[in-house]
Symmetry: C2
Subunit: 340 residues, 2 copies
Amino acid sequence: MKKKITMKEIARELDVSISTVSKALNNSPEISQDTIDKVQAFAKFYNYKPNNIALSLKNKKTKNIAVIIPEIVHHFFTLIISGIEQKANELGYNVIVCLSNESFAKEVINLETMASGSIDGFLLSLSKETMAKKDFHHLREVINQGMPLVMFDRVSDEIYCDKVIIDDARASYNTVKHLIYSGCQRIALLTTPDYVSVGKLRTLGYKNALKDEGIEIDENLIVRVETVEELDGKVKSLFDTEKFDAVFGVNELYAVVAMREAHSRGLIIPQEMSFVGFSDGILSKYAYPSLTTVVQHGFEMGQKAAKMLIDRLESDHTDDSYKMEVIKTSILQRESTKPV
Amino acid sequence: MKKKITMKEIARELDVSISTVSKALNNSPEISQDTIDKVQAFAKFYNYKPNNIALSLKNKKTKNIAVIIPEIVHHFFTLIISGIEQKANELGYNVIVCLSNESFAKEVINLETMASGSIDGFLLSLSKETMAKKDFHHLREVINQGMPLVMFDRVSDEIYCDKVIIDDARASYNTVKHLIYSGCQRIALLTTPDYVSVGKLRTLGYKNALKDEGIEIDENLIVRVETVEELDGKVKSLFDTEKFDAVFGVNELYAVVAMREAHSRGLIIPQEMSFVGFSDGILSKYAYPSLTTVVQHGFEMGQKAAKMLIDRLESDHTDDSYKMEVIKTSILQRESTKPV
DNA sequence: AAGTGCAGCGAAATCGATTTAGTGTTCACA
DNA sequence: TGTGAACACTAAATCGATTTCGCTGCACTT
């Protein structure tokens, strides 16, 4: 086992001081070319790599950033992580992933453990429980300690920090208009409870679009689903009790499940019923028929969020004007809706 | 901004030495109860948290482990990560995620940057390029440095280390037998090139099952797909040129795409054609009809891998007998196959 | 009164790097 | 011959913790 070599050992072997080794490796002008060559050759031969921990301690920066997400088994979040990872690596940072599993307590623990030295800044998307509780003391605490925080997707107005979001209300508005223009009149909405900020905004966009098109809002067509378990049941009862010609799901799963239900009731898609989902993922792409979706550009969102965080880390002082980036969405027309 | 407080500052404020503070915080018996109370009260009031970096430097352990995977936008890998994260957190470790993006170069870079102090051990699943090149010097190097490595899913015989795998050959064998027992005779196989270890093993299992059941192997029914781009074309030409009554895909995507093709050709599933995929994910679950799959228990695999790594990290010495855990698979019968 | 033991605390080394403030030698120039 | 700059290098502080060893003062024994 060829152990790691340190500067101390190089210094001892070559009979110079540690400072000389350090400077030689950094090509300092105060070291003679002879010594530089000698030290660098020796270092290369023994595969010397500086110890990151020691550097972190000295420089007070770790070149690590933490991303805390509610869940990873979720295509949108994996896209975001890919984007974060790509951008962070490009800029010389590593990404530590923490999962809150939608739990407030775990979110707090993650923040606390990470905040004590392991990382330089946070990227965070709120857990459902945190949004429901509206308790953000843990976020304020890390911000107060001077640690930058960038929130993405699931954010809160109550926290002052950089943010990257989707314009959910507008995206939803556009989507519903798209459905209307394609000939749909009674559009059912499968959404989340209102404490999920994105669900709330998408619901808002839905209502506004109907209003603007002079279509009355029928609350019976709005179904709020809290957990995956109750999804099937709520969808079935919607089909049982209401008449409608389109379904808009605030995520792809909701839309796909509704589409399956329509399938099994023998409805022809999209002639008799249209379907649109939010957040384009593999489910939408490979559903049968393939699902028209709102593309959220998660990869880009991850990149932007990472860039904002690192910009702040590397800017000299804290300017206290926080930025808010809005990622544009687009509608990807596939087989589950009629052409406009 | 309430800055972080250090032991030094506590010591200065309370007019004791740093060593006393350290010992008081650790409830050392050589400090009087009075002093302990005083120090701990002060520390709590100023929300003192030890600096992890300093601890890492001193203890020569970081309590971080790195997991390097080829891709994250992949349900199986996200399940594994969830499992790793859960188990690692439970045992007091953080997880640093690195993506190789199926690239050899990036895998090497990830290993090198992580190995210089940031982490205590690796969890790794090989990139396609690495498997194709069969160049494992980077793995040998970190192992030689005394850093534990656990490989999972995509592993190599040439590296001596702990491993967690699926018994791919057997799983595939069982699946094909299942298809045969359900009445299928000509089973097409959608697989990867042989350099992908899991693809190779699954192909082997397929062949053995046919052999054991006295069915001749028809190489024309075995389609090797390298990239997603060529998937559609190869599937179409399979349908154009061959006759068969079942498709076995070595991942869920292959199976679902084939099923879509069958759909559009008006075939009735599963009466006229059956479909099975490997690695149960959302695609399988929400496909129409839902896809019968081989469940790989990725979460469990992640947990096992994390546990193996941490066990080795915390065992006193290196015993050089490496373990290999095999995760059992199971067949999840859904709508795309006939009951046996 | 001198020696012993212990409670309670502090000084300093250590982990592996960087960096500032010197130190010692050589050589040029007045 | 003496002075000072230039050069090449070193000692030591520093980052924030832990830990070993040593020191002080008091109580108690003999």
